[in-house]
Symmetry: C2
Subunit: 146 residues, 2 copies
DNA sequence: TATTGTTATACTCTATAACTATA
DNA sequence: TATAGTTATAGAGTATAACAATA
């Protein structure tokens, strides 16, 4: 991980620098805390999406996550290889795969989400509970464009 | 750019998702607004760093930005090719290059920084001035670990 | 021996184009 | 003709290893 020597206020205060490094720091925490469950932060995102939206075709899931459908193929391949999701042909349109969580996938999702909650809490550890909640809400509004 | 269909609160509220998409949105704004100056957001970061810290060796600059020294070689190559920075051998240690802004580099830095300020303002456009300042301060504390 | 800049190389992430099977 | 999944391929971005010059 970066060493973070002093940058001076001009670069160190830029939003691009700050957003990138916050994301890198959270990714490192996720890599560490999700390791026991054998999944990545991106795979957890797909499990969360399927849990909320199932049944969902691969392409629908890809659109919601903002990635290409060809990217989704490899992610689903990996999750299926671990037994966490299953592809079934959609009976009403046999071009499609419906992707659904398995029982093992639901267990992993529950435990890995708790680990991710821990990673988020560590990232925001320096803020008190009130400021952490404020930060979450402001960040949500930034992304939503409100 | 992503279409952002509804994700449900579980995924759409995760910090990893929010930080990534805020960063992607800002990168897109930077790509658009920095185009007239012929530099990328990463090149602007290096110009800002050199302006604050010059004279600086390539390796010192790389450490401060948290990237590998081999990555910095290509960035400096590009900036030098555009006439915005110049490499000089360090007289006191001839293994090193001292990298300094040229006059053209200083002009580009000034104008591109104004464009980047505009990009940041657009990203935070939905927040009022008070909330934008609050968000900046909280994000800075998150990265600093305070 | 260790360090700086460099090159060559490889690995990850992602997208584009083309193929297939269905519609 | 168009769409879903897939494969092959290529382009960023970044890191590791090895080399030459210098300390």
């Amino acid at each position: 991980m970066p060493h973070h020597d002093d940058l001076g206020p001009r670069l160190g205060g830029r939003l691009g620098y700050l957003l990138k490094h916050a994301h890198v720091a959270l990714s490192a925490l996720h890599e560490e805390l999700l390791a026991p469950f054998g999944i990545s932060d991106r795979e957890l995102a797909v499990l969360l999406l399927l849990d909320a939206r199932e049944p969902e075709s691969q392409q629908q899931a890809a659109r919601r996550l903002g990635v290409d459908r060809t990217t989704m193929v490899a992610v689903i391949d990996a999750l299926e290889g671990k037994g966490l999701v299953a592809r079934r042909p959609d009976p009403t349109d046999r071009r499609r795969n419906v992707v659904a969580l398995t029982d093992a996938g639901r267990v992993t999702l529950r435990d890995a989400t708790a680990a991710s909650d821990d990673a988020e809490a560590r990232l925001l550890g320096g803020l008190g509970a009130d400021d952490a909640a404020r930060f979450r809400e402001l960040l949500r509004r930034v992304v939503a464009g409100d």
